[in-house]
């Protein structure tokens, strides 16, 4: 018993130490700690760049920056633990597809609400980012409806495209330009004929396991059925669909949120995909969750495919053509659209732990509006990682750029960066034009809060994992399993889940 008493005493003692260390850190000068993702930055290069940037920042806003160069390798567990544990970090990268999901974390009180601070500390920023993007950033957080993070002005629209191997298509005797202009119809006999011809051609060259349809199954489903992701759907996959108009995404076609697997469109899609797979157009490796990505990328990179899927990013066909050594064509399946899924693709949030949220916002203001700050943090220093050309473009100094390459899209307004020589002088102008042309979906900035139906969501996630991939990739016959799948989804509570989403949508629409 005495031992236990002394243990308790020790506990109290350490709790005291804990309380002490906790308050002690408040007295430091204004250093802003920020956590980026996807970076590949060496400590030496980081020091060199930040030393110079901090002089400038100190002059401008009286702060200096301390960066955690997170990589893709550590961004899930490490960030979530640091956030839950209340680490002393001022700003985090967040978005609606990462583990520190923007909307959930806003709800749970992790991010500072910015609405009141923005006019005073981020006026330029407020003006720079278009109203439509701010609209997408609005979410129902712990402190009411509002903006809880600064959205990055980058590729802010979604467009699903067929990725076509133009070189192979020409070899088959097709008029590539004409086909691309006309578009592809998944259900047409011509589509199948194309695949068959490609398979025959390869077989005649002695390649017996050529699979012309090299797709990402979940993307293919959205592409063919013209549906969008509902922000706030299950984190592990999408069970909800929202149908939009192919040519004019902004047009209200009276859509509701639906359980995507229960629609006739899905049944038709699954049957067609299964049929194509049975005919040997889809590789078994694509149908295996674990090997699907590796195999698809390997085939794409080596040009061993005819038709693939791609969620389009501006200019990617040029990068792909160069890298794959073939003529890559992007054939739009629908017009580009904007919704909160694309609008929340990359954001910077200020943590409620931050002692200096105003300074942090001042910094984000600069990052998005001051080309020097953005260029230095994103590209490095002139003469170190790049040289300026006469026409305003830049050329990399490759060996130093390799030690300092943050993820370009993960910081903020990339449109104030100088274009690289490869991209050409007009790159950002064209980039902005393309993305600004995107129409917003009706109720596109709607965000589903599934926390009320979390138990249902948990059960649905496991049913989803059991069936969805097989059906979307054509591995399983919908005639045999679709009914069983739907019945299990119902048992797991999909109807309550969908109803909750529609109820919120109705409230949102007013």
């Amino acid at each position: 018993m005495k031992k236990i008493v002394s243990l308790l005493l020790a506990l109290v003692m350490f709790a005291g130490v804990f309380a002490f260390t906790n308050t002690a850190s408040a007295e430091e000068p204004v250093t802003l700690k920020i956590w980026f993702h996807g970076s590949n930055v060496s400590p030496e290069a980081s020091k060199k760049v930040l030393d110079e940037l901090n002089v400038y920042l100190n002059e401008k806003i009286g702060a200096k920056l301390d960066v955690i160069w997170g990589t893709w390798g550590d961004f899930d567990t490490a960030v979530v633990t640091a956030l839950a544990g209340g680490d002393n970090v001022d700003m985090y990268f967040t978005c609606n597809w990462s583990a520190d999901e923007y909307n959930k974390y806003a709800r749970d009180g992790y991010w500072v609400k910015l609405d009141d601070l923005l006019p005073q500390y981020g006026a330029d920023l407020l003006a720079t980012i278009p109203e439509g993007i701010w609209e997408c950033a609005k979410t129902n957080g712990y402190d009411g409806m509002g903006i809880y993070a600064v959205p990055a002005l980058k590729d802010t629209a979604t467009q699903n495209c067929w990725d076509v191997n133009g070189t192979l298509l020409a070899e088959l005797g097709y008029d590539v330009d004409a086909i691309c202009a006309k578009g592809l119809d998944y259900y047409s006999p011509e589509f199948e004929e194309m695949l068959q011809k490609a398979k025959d051609l390869k077989a005649s060259q002695g390649v017996n396991d050529f699979y012309p349809l090299c797709v990402e199954p979940m993307v293919l489903e959205r592409l063919v059925n013209v549906t969008s992701i509902v922000t706030g759907d299950l984190g592990s996959g999408n069970v909800l669909s929202y149908y939009y108009d192919k040519e004019h995404p902004a047009k209200d076609i009276g859509s509701k949120i639906v359980n995507k697997f229960s629609t006739p469109e899905f049944e038709k899609y699954a049957a067609r995909t299964y049929e194509l797979a049975q005919k040997g157009f889809i590789s078994p490796s694509i149908q295996n969750v674990a090997t699907s990505n590796d195999y698809r990328t390997a085939c794409q990179n080596s040009g061993e495919y005819l038709i693939s899927t791609q969620s389009y990013a501006y200019g990617c066909e040029i990068d792909f053509s160069k890298a794959r050594g073939i003529d890559v064509r992007m054939v739009p399946a629908s017009a580009p659209y904007m919704d909160s899924t694309s609008g929340q693709g990359a954001m910077m949030a200020i943590s409620t732990v931050s002692k200096n949220p105003e300074k942090a916002l001042q910094f984000l203001n600069l990052l998005n509006t001051d080309p020097y700050v953005m260029t230095t943090l994103n590209y490095g220093l002139e003469g170190f990682t790049f040289n300026k050309n006469a026409d305003g473009t830049i050329t990399w100094i490759e060996e130093n750029r390799a030690t300092y390459s943050p993820w370009r899209n993960g910081m903020g307004n990339v449109r104030i960066l100088p274009p690289t020589a490869d991209e050409g002088v007009n790159y950002w102008k064209d980039f902005a034009e393309y993305y600004n042309s995107a129409e917003a979906l009706p109720y596109g900035s709607f965000i589903f809060d599934s926390s009320e139906v979390e138990t249902e969501g948990a059960a649905i996630a496991n049913v989803f994992a059991e069936y969805a991939f097989g059906l979307c990739s054509g591995a399983t016959d919908p005639a045999a399993v679709l009914a069983e799948f739907l019945q299990k989804l119902e048992a797991a509570g999909i109807n309550e889940f969908v109803a909750a989403a529609n109820e919120q949508l109705a409230k949102y629409a007013g």
Binding site: L7, L11, A290, E454, A459, A492
Partner: protein, 324 residues
């Protein structure tokens, strides 16, 4: 800890007491480094258990972890609900328990048998070579193992489907046929863990005093009798301790094995879904640390009860071989 020692320091003024307690004091200094470690790194954070009964939210006014924890709402047993919500979960629980029973039984018999066999090899270097080889699985992650297995059974490239096709037989689609998987899972588990346990038993055998075998041999005991009357009794404690510890893991499964080796194939869920994979799929969906704490706590409580029961049973049979 400090308190305790200073108290005893005062007492040492009386030389008799100190003399009398010298042994205990020495032993206490032996346990203290580890005890302090346990106190700091295990007992101090243990308050986190209440997470399982709360809905974890940040307390934005002063968001330190403990503040968040204190101000988060109590939700009772709501975080546990999802574990029992569907048939899916029940299948996962059934699979976990059935596999574990098999693992416990085979995991006790095979390593002991291997250790004894290896002990009888005339050429010592052969035993060493075998034992080294058996340790390699320990270095390979389940992801790597899954690719190895895939090389044999992959529908497109695999050796076995190719052989079946060449022989004109029906080609099995391995990743959608449930039948062979319980065997594959059991073998994979043995493959990974036998080397590890065999080392423990081998070391225990090595610790046996050689004179005992000599004495037995002089008494005319055959080799088999020596195994039966010298080796096995020596291993008894180790066997029962490992058995008790494994029983404690009956409600938990090796996540990597069940998640990666079947390559997450949905069609195999009826025989590969276990509690840990079920919880993982929930966690990546909801990102709710309270739910995952709840699931972890439930697994621990059940494990604790099972260990206590197993320990009590062993105590009846052989009081020397218990955990405590």
């Amino acid at each position: 800890m400090k308190n305790k020692r200073s108290r005893q320091g005062d007492a040492s003024l009386a030389p008799n007491w100190f003399q009398r307690n010298k042994k205990v004091l020495a032993l206490l200094t032996m346990v203290s480094p580890t005890a302090i470690w346990l106190l700091l790194l295990r007992y101090l954070p243990i308050g986190g258990i209440v997470l399982a009964f709360k809905s974890y939210k940040i307390f934005p006014r002063d968001p330190t972890f403990w503040n968040n924890l204190i101000h988060s709402k109590w939700v009772g047993l709501k975080n546990f609900e999802f574990i029992f919500k569907t048939d899916q979960a029940l299948v996962a629980i059934r699979n976990t328990i059935l596999y574990n029973i098999v693992f416990i039984i085979l995991g006790a018999i095979i390593p002991v048998a291997f250790a004894i066999m290896m002990n009888e090899f005339t050429k010592k270097f052969v035993a060493k070579a075998y034992q080294t080889m058996m340790f390699f699985p320990y270095f390979l992650s389940w992801v790597v193992v899954s690719y190895f297995l895939n090389a044999f059974i992959d529908a497109q490239y695999g050796v076995l489907p190719a052989a079946q096709a060449a022989a004109g037989k029906d080609v099995i689609s391995w990743y959608t046929t449930t039948k062979p998987w319980p065997l594959i899972i059991i073998f994979a588990n043995l493959w990974k863990n036998v080397g590890y346990s065999t080392v423990l038993y081998l070391a225990a055998i090595t610790g046996i005093d050689a004179s005992q075998y000599e004495a037995a041999a002089i008494d005319g005991a055959s080799k088999w009798q020596q195994i039966r009357y010298v080796t096995l009794p020596h291993l008894r404690t180790m066997i029962s301790i490992l058995l008790i510890l494994n029983v404690g893991k009956i409600f938990a499964a090796d996540f990597g094995l069940f998640y990666n080796v079947p390559m997450q194939s949905g069609a195999l869920f009826p025989v590969t879904q276990v509690i840990d994979t079920y919880i993982y799929r929930v966690f990546i969906t909801t990102g709710n640390i309270s739910q995952s704490s709840a699931a972890g706590l439930l697994q621990n409580v059940i494990g604790f009860v099972c260990i206590m029961l197993a320990n009590a049973v062993v105590k009846r049979i052989d009081p020397e071989s218990t955990l405590f």
